[in-house]
Every structure is written in structure tokens, then in C-alpha cells.
Amino acid sequence: MASGNDVAWWGKTRGLMITMLVIWAIFSFFIHFFVNSLNEIVVFGFPLGFYMAAQGSLIVFVVMLFWFARRQDAIDREHGVAED
């Protein structure tokens, strides 16, 4: 089971997982710590801090999930562990 290819593949999978969780943590929590400063900036009538919680972070979540599905599939194919 533990061939070199499998180890490399799982390493990349885990790397992608960590990347995803870091982005997730940034847009779930980190940027909202600065809501008051962001609210000073107004775009289209939206205070930016409010906008990020109401739409910005959500858009990031959606986009990152489509990106993740493609990226993980590429990793799987590259190492020959994808479904046929």
C-alpha cells in the first residue's frame, strides 16, 4: 500500500487540505476581526466590513470549493489514483 507514489499523492492531498483550511479560516474569522476598520471603506454604498460578512466571504467559499474539486481531481489523476 505505502508505495512512494501513494506517499507523494497523500502529501499533496494533505497540502491542499491545509491550504483550503487556511483560506477558510481567513475568510471565516480573520478578516472579520477588522470589521470596524473595513467599514471605513465604502463600496457601492456597502461598508466593506459589512459587505465581507454578508457577501464577500460567501463568494470566496463558493469559488474555493469549485477550485478545490478541480485541483484535487488533478492531483488524483497525476498520481493515478483517480476513479476511471
Binding site: A2, R14, S28, N39, A54, L58, L65, F68, Q72, V81
Partner: protein, 654 residues
């Protein structure tokens, strides 16, 4: 639709089938709109909406009937990512999301966005950490996976207990919501409406299990999203000339901010009562705001009725894509809800607050008569009634001030068609949307509970040799029993149970998340570690939830949180003379005790903030001191991780 019996033919024609369905639904709405112009009474329109949509869902449910185990439990694993995304959207968005979410945002402003963030971001965790691996394993239920990974039926039993605790209160709330919506719109009594809803739910799920629920949920998603978007798009076009409410409410936010200032200057509102819409942390402090987001997200990634939707995709790859589609479909509703809240707030601040009591808009009375809008403490049923009530309120000069008005959360969405001056048919559409949202969530939850009983308890624990026919019969009987019991509980209007719905997220998070995530991502997790971690995390969360809500005074004393006021109120209870005085004093004492019964100021709803770390730490520590899992188990985990090679758990008699 006749092709439903032949799965492969049906799945290749999905686009056509649902395209026709959507067209048919649009034609139905237009037909009703024409009939309304011709003088069809509102009540009949309401009836037609409710009965027609329920009949369509039931029809899909009956056409999707099946006698195959894998069709019943996982829809034959043939649901394409896109459609499974829609079904998950409907499964996820409850009646409360549809009807109440915008109202929460109206009431809480920025702080309400914790729910918007928490109920979307969790899907990142679902996609990255959990769903593809459960799909690869090929489980029928979440406890199935726990049993396979953690050495059998004890872990399975714990999984069932967690599942039951977080799903049952939730399903009661959904059936309650169908009753409320149906009774409000078609005027039948609430108790009858609950059982009408029950019938709709059973017809959708009983004959075809997961397969039927999947295809009705797709149909329900289409109804609910159309119903949610149309009124607010219309309102945005009317007010700002651009039919994109999600962009145009920026202007509304600006107007709200300046109206808030004016109200403060005119003395219509006071600084302590009026919460600025965009200012953060007016209701929750940062700890509770972010704690709530975390609990809701991790809860999302742990709720069995959501995870089991990803068991139905044709491949692991499709499961990942499907999570992305799910979130897109959910996002469509959740990024619109703040627009509803802003438009409604603007309407209230512009046309209601500061208006003379004689000149309030008509919608105030429409919903006042339903008991959803109160002015000066009485239901806004008629002009005279509220004038009399307001005359008795100190400082009222015949103008409606901010503190005089109280609006039920549900009004925000259901009153929008009327505020925008839309025909009644749109109000009926909104009712159909709310009904679709609560029916679809109820279907998913009921199936999760009944499947745990029939597959995990009956088939895996009681009679592993049961023939297919008997397994499916038992599954259906249990589904009916659970559904009838839930409907009966809902018909008693159980306030306690309804307030416990929010607990589901913390309970699921603490009970399932560490075991699921470590089970896949950390091979060293042992059976003993997992069992200890589940019990510890779940117990801490449940203790915190129950003790701070129902045994607050005891909790305060046990953890040394008592304040002077606590002691004073406690003494008042002891000193109370007669029964009535004692009851009043006890109520005040308990209410205050609940407000201080907190560890480190963490709200009851975020209880998993304690349960999660406890669960993780116990699971890791106990795993480290027990012998590592066997070689077979390590290989099993490798197998679950690799997408290639088909499902791990094989059904012997499919």
C-alpha cells in the same frame, strides 16, 4: 416522468424533466395570476398553491418508489453532482431559514451575519475533510462509518444517539413550520395543517426512500429559490430601477444609517434601544460572534442528514463537485437574505416610525391581525385599538416611535410582496416556497432518523440476516412511526423543543466531528480513543446546554459564578409569602441566573466551543495510550482515502 422507473434513462433526461417542471410551475403561477385578475378570491389561490405543490411532490415520490436496498438508502448512487447540489440546498435550507433568516438579520443587523457565515462556510469543511471519504467508504448512514472505523456496534450506537439528539428536535421544528405556514395561508387549523404537512412528507419519502427524497428535493429547491428571489428582485427594480437586490441594498444601508441618526435626533428612538444596522457586536460580543460562527460551521459539517446526501453521487469526484454546487445553491438564498432585511428596515424607518398612528401603512394591520406585529404592546389589529394602547404609553404623542413597534421575524419575508404592491399570487408563491423549504428539510431529517433505526439498529444489530423485502418493510414502518410521533409532538406546540433546535449544531459538532475527521486524517486514532472522545465531547456539550438553560441557578452555584444580585434574588424567592409571589420571584431568579450561567461568557448556543476541544483532546490522548490500530485497519483507511477502486462497504444482496 414515466421514465422514472428506469433509472439510467431518467438520469440522462434530467435536464429535460426539470426544465419542463420549471416551465410548468411558471405556467401555473401565471395562470393563477390571470385568475386573480378575473376575481378568484385570495383564499382559493392559497389553497391551490398548497395543494398543487404538495400533489406534485407526492407524485414524484410515488413515481420514485423502489424495492432495491441501495436505491432506498443512497438513491442507487446515481445522482449527478449538480442535482445533488440542489437537493442538498433544499435539504439544508429549512422553513426557518426561508421565513425567519431575513427577520433575524433585520433584528440583529451585522451580528445576524454570524448565521449567514456559519451556515455557508461549513461546506468548506464538508468538502475538504469529510464528504469524499464517507462517499468512498460507501456508507448508508453516518453511524455505518463510525462502526466500520471504530470496531463495531458500540461506536455505531454512539453515532445513533448523536444522530437522534440532533435530528429529532430539528424535524419537529420543520413539521411545526409546515403547520404554521399552511394554517396562515389557507386558514385551516394548525393541528390539521400539521397532519396535512405530515401526509406530504410521508408521500414523498416512504415509498422511495432516498431516491424519492432526492428527486422531490430538487423540485422543492426550484420552487423555494424562485419564491425567495422574485419578490425582492421586484422590489429592487421598483425602488432603484435595477433588479439586482444583492447589489442595490448598499444604497438602502446608507439611507438606513442616516435615518437612524434622524430618529435619534427627533427623539423617536433612544441610543440604548436602537441598534445601528451595520455596527458590529451590538448583540453578541466578539467572543460569542466568532464562537457562534465556528459552532454553526462545524455543526454543518457534522449533521448526518447533510452528510448522507453525498453518499448518493456516482463517484468521489462527483461528491466533491457536488459540495461546491450545494454551496452555490445555498449561497443564492443566503446572500439575498440581507437584502430583504435592509429593504424591510428602510420601509419601516421611512414609512412607519415617526408616522402618525392614523397613517400607518396597511401591511402593519394585515400582519397585526395575525398577531405578528405589535404596536404599543397590543396586536396591530385596528387603528382605534393601537391609539388606545399608545395613549397609555408614557411619552407617546400620537406618533409611532421606535420602541412602540415590535415585528415578528417571519414578517420580513412574507410581507415583502405586499410592501412592493405585488398581486396576491406572489404572496401565495412565497407560502409555497416556505412550505417547500420546510417539507424538504423534514424529509431529509426523517430519512436520516428512520434509516439509522432500520439500517443501523435493525439490520446491523438485531437481524443481520434479514432478507431485502423485510428490511425495506421495516424501514418504511419505522419511517411512518417516527414521522407520526414527530408530528404529534409538533402539534402540541412544544416551546421547549422549538428553542432546542439551535442546539443541534453544537451537539452534532461535538459528537461527530472529531471522530469523523480524525478517523480519516489520523490513522493512529483508536477505537478506545474515539469512543472516549465522542462520549466526553458530547457529554460536555449536552451538560452545558441543559444545565445553563434548565438548571441555571444550580450551575451558577456549582461553578461559583454567583453575584450579589443573584443572592438578593435567591433570598427573595425564599422570603416570598404565597404561591403567586413565589412563582414570580422564582421566574425572575431563574431568568437572571440564566443570564450569568456561563463559562467565560460563552452563550448556551455555542456550547460546542467547550465540547469540541474536549472531544479532540480526549480522542488524541486516549488514542496515544492505547495500542495503534491493526494493519488491516490502516489498510482500510488507505482504501478510504484513495478515490480509485469502488466503494469499500459492499452490499451483499442489493
Amino acid at each position: 416522468m414515466a421514465s422514472r422507473h428506469d433509472g439510467s434513462d431518467f438520469t440522462s433526461n434530467l435536464g429535460k424533466v426539470y426544465g419542463l417542471y420549471t416551465g410548468g410551475f411558471a405556467a401555473f403561477v401565471i395562470l393563477l395570476a390571470i385568475l386573480e385578475q378575473l376575481g378568484l378570491p385570495n383564499r382559493i389561490i392559497g389553497y391551490l398553491f398548497v395543494f398543487f405543490t404538495i400533489a406534485v411532490y407526492a407524485g414524484i415520490g410515488i413515481l420514485s418508489r423502489t424495492m432495491q436496498v441501495s436505491e432506498y438508502y443512497v438513491a442507487g448512487r446515481r445522482v449527478p453532482a449538480f442535482y445533488n447540489g440542489m437537493a442538498t440546498g433544499a435539504d439544508w435550507m429549512s422553513g426557518a431559514s426561508f421565513v425567519g433568516m431575513a427577520g433575524t438579520l433585520y433584528a440583529l443587523g451585522y451580528d445576524g451575519l454570524a448565521f449567514v457565515l456559519g451556515w455557508t462556510g461549513g461546506y468548506v469543511l464538508v468538502a475538504v475533510l469529510v464528504a469524499p471519504y464517507l462517499r468512498k467508504f460507501g456508507a448508508y448512514t453516518v453511524p455505518d462509518f463510525l462502526a466500520a472505523r471504530y470496531g463495531g456496534n458500540f461506536a455505531r450506537l454512539l453515532g445513533i444517539i448523536v444522530l437522534f439528539c440532533c435530528s429529532f428536535t430539528y424535524v419537529v421544528a420543520q413539521i411545526y413550520a409546515t403547520g404554521i405556514i399552511a394554517s396562515r395561508f389557507i386558514g385551516i387549523s394548525f393541528e390539521v395543517a400539521v397532519f396535512v404537512g405530515l401526509l406530504g412528507i410521508l408521500l414523498c419519502s416512504m415509498l422511495g426512500g432516498m431516491r424519492a427524497v432526492t428527486w422531490t428535493q430538487v423540485a422543492q429547491y426550484i420552487v423555494l429559490i424562485v419564491a425567495y428571489l422574485i419578490p425582492v428582485i421586484w422590489l429592487s427594480a421598483q425602488k432603484y430601477g435595477v433588479p439586482v437586490p444583492q447589489l442595490m441594498y448598499g444604497h438602502a444601508l446608507q439611507d438606513i444609517a442616516s435615518l437612524e441618526q434622524q430618529m435619534l435626533q427627533n427623539g423617536l428612538a433612544t441610543g440604548e434601544k436602537l441598534k445601528s444596522h451595520i455596527t458590529p457586536f451590538t448583540t453578541y460580543n466578539p467572543l460569542n460572534f466568532f464562537g457562534l460562527i465556528l459552532c454553526l460551521m462545524i455543526g454543518t459539517a457534522s449533521l448526518p442528514h447533510i452528510l448522507m446526501r453525498y453518499f448518493t453521487t456516482p463517484s468521489v469526484r462527483e461528491a466533491r463537485k457536488s459540495v461546491a454546487w450545494s454551496l452555490l445553491f445555498i449561497f443564492l438564498l443566503y446572500f439575498t437574505a440581507p437584502a430583504y432585511a435592509a429593504f424591510a428596515k428602510l420601509e419601516v424607518y421611512q414609512n412607519v416610525i415617526g408616522a402618525s398612528l392614523d397613517a400607518l401603512p396597511q401591511w402593519i394591520y394585515t400582519y397585526g391581525q395575525l398577531g405578528l406585529v405589535k404596536v404599543c404592546g397590543v396586536n396591530a389589529e385596528a387603528v382605534e385599538a393601537i391609539k388606545t394602547a399608545c395613549a397609555g404609553v408614557e411619552g407617546n404623542t400620537g406618533l409611532l416611535r421606535f420602541p412602540d413597534l415590535s415585528i415578528n421575524n417571519d414578517v420580513i419575508v412574507i410581507s415583502t410582496p405586499e410592501i412592493a404592491g405585488l398581486p396576491y399570487v406572489i404572496a401565495g408563491l412565497v407560502a409555497a416556497g416556505g412550505l417547500a423549504a420546510s417539507l424538504s428539510t423534514a424529509d431529509g431529517l426523517l430519512l436520516a432518523i428512520a434509516n439509522a433505526l432500520s439500517h443501523d439498529i435493525y439490520y446491523k444489530m438485531v437481524d443481520p440476516n434479514a432478507p431485502t423485502g423485510r428490511r425495506l418493510l421495516i424501514a418504511r414502518v419505522l419511517l411512518i412511526i417516527v414521522a407520526v410521533f414527530a408530528a404529534w409532538v409538533a402539534s402540541t406546540r412544544p416551546a421547549d423543543i422549538l428553542s432546542m433546535v439551535a442546539w443541534a449544531f453544537s451537539l452534532a459538532a461535538a459528537g461527530n466531528f472529531p471522530a469523523l475527521v480524525l478517523g480519516v486524517w489520523w490513522k493512529r486514532t483508536t477505537t478506545a480513543g474515539a469512543v472516549a472522545g465522542i462520549i466526553a465531547g458530547f457529554a460536555v456539550t449536552a451538560y452545558y446546554l441543559v444545565a445553563t438553560r434548565y438548571y441555571a441557578p444550580g450551575f451558577v452555584e456549582m461553578w461559583g459564578l454567583a453575584t450579589d444580585k443573584f443572592e438578593t434574588l435567591k433570598a427573595a424567592v425564599a422570603a416570598a409569602g404565597d404561591e403567586t409571589a413565589r412563582a414570580a420571584a422564582s421566574a425572575a431568579f431563574d431568568k437572571y441566573a440564566q443570564s450569568i450561567a456561563k463559562w467565560g461568557g460563552v452563550n448556551n448556543i455555542s456550547a460546542a466551543l467547550f465540547g469540541l476541544p474536549v472531544g479532540f483532546i480526549v480522542m488524541v490522548l486516549v488514542s496515544l495510550v492505547t495500542p495503534a490500530p491493526s494493519k488491516e485497519m490502516q489498510d482500510f483507511i488507505d482504501e478510504i482515502r484513495r478515490p480509485a477502486g469502488g466503494v469499500v462497504m459492499k452490499e451483499k444482496a442489493a
